[in-house]
Subunit: 310 residues, 2 copies
Amino acid sequence: MSLLTVGSVAFDAIETPFGKTDKIIGGAGTYIALSSSYFTNDQKIVSVVGEDFPNETLEDLKARGIDIDGIQIKEGEKTFFWSGKYHNDMNSRDTLVTELNVLGDFDPIIPESYQGVDYLMLGNLAPSVQRQVIERLNERPKLIAMDTMNFWMDIAWDDLMQTIKMVDVLIINDEEARQLSKEYSLVKAAKVIMDMGPKYLIIKKGEHGALLFNTNGNVFFAPALPLEEVFDPTGAGDTFAGGFVGYLAKTDDISFDNMKRAVVTGSAMASFCVEKFGTERLQNLSQGEIYNRIMEFVDLAQFDIKKELV
Amino acid sequence: MSLLTVGSVAFDAIETPFGKTDKIIGGAGTYIALSSSYFTNDQKIVSVVGEDFPNETLEDLKARGIDIDGIQIKEGEKTFFWSGKYHNDMNSRDTLVTELNVLGDFDPIIPESYQGVDYLMLGNLAPSVQRQVIERLNERPKLIAMDTMNFWMDIAWDDLMQTIKMVDVLIINDEEARQLSKEYSLVKAAKVIMDMGPKYLIIKKGEHGALLFNTNGNVFFAPALPLEEVFDPTGAGDTFAGGFVGYLAKTDDISFDNMKRAVVTGSAMASFCVEKFGTERLQNLSQGEIYNRIMEFVDLAQFDIKKELV
């Protein structure tokens, strides 16, 4: 099934305890699209870059079967740039630089050829921009998933509420779930957030795994793979989202059981992402590596308990 | 199979955001024994109390099939007392009072009838006392599991190293694993700790679940049940240990697959413990409630992913 990804295609500069990068390719849209490209060959992306963005990166996305007609290239303007530094525990980071550049007035244009898309993944962007994308699609996709962050809760609450109401799956982290719901308990938070509109909620807990809730009261927990080293967490959440929605687009099944598999797939993809700086690890994965990693999750989480053994 | 539990039988006074108790029954040995009593009828306990300890509590343990001949009652002395206050997030607490009393010079006497026990659970105590218990058993049990805490790492490192070397399973929390190994990554920490002697390591992560490692490189992760409310976390770790070792004693199978089930069982028991103050919830569980709770863990963690779906 076809998948439309909307999100930033950008430059990052990252510092972790393991080293420091120059300007490298980043952006939520990039991570999502790379990750989901392992699951679907029918992917389209809507984004915007400046004239400083390398053409070879765009060509690389195209070579991965991603339709880039929806990436606007703004002459005379610069690409979105973010720079951050991770602390020793890798669980917190400081933003050093944010230059919105072309993202400052992003008007998401949907090419005519993108109409009729089956799945929609809205990467983290201003909620008004995310909503514009939904409104500019002639037909509502089968499933709309959305990421967001604290920043929009702080400065665009009403916009965010309007957009959240329109989506099926919200994907946020634990801190964001607590801020959005004003509840500390994630179980209570999930109820409050699903009352805002989404039928499904994924709460990412970083190294502590991810929870999937639905409005029928089902809960699923996927662990994160225990890793010796987290090299660079940048993009892990977007890579998770890409694996999740890519798997759904591939299998075209939005039952809760299949969403569980999609969450495990997203977790597996995220576990690759953090092994190297930036998008490096996501560039050259084989299907065999992905399959083996998913099987590591099976070994990690599966147990067999029977009534007579309890 | 028979199980010997060694640990404090004590008084606690607890304050959480939900309320405050007077002196209630607590102690690692109490929580472990109550929890494992749901799985084995052949349990013995070694501990010490003062003359202020209520006889009816001892009789209650006895009524649960626990052999209390190994609980020394010290005339003219007072029972161990701990008082603590939990912060709003329930993940951290301040100790308000610690009165060692009878625990100060605890000499763990093993009744002759306890000899030949199959499973041994060493609750958190001075590592020298834990070691004495092992040394006073004529035959080494099939499996020795041990809990400890930061405090002993700070003041009795050499003793702790000696005792850890003698046990099969070490059960500690993530913070303790990091302090013990001097590694932040739990995967690295696990390797360092298993090099100290234990063939199995359980790292409890509270609301984030528990990891089981063995020296063959196997890893298993059991989630914690997402709860609306954690009423009082006191004793949850001991209750986990009791469920874990009780399940092993019941099934008499120390394969990795069965240890996985034991970890899930421990997690289920811990999820009951936190629902009420102190040991209250552990006093009146039915086998049906326990079975249903374990099935909630199955629903929470299980997924079915097949090669053709990846």
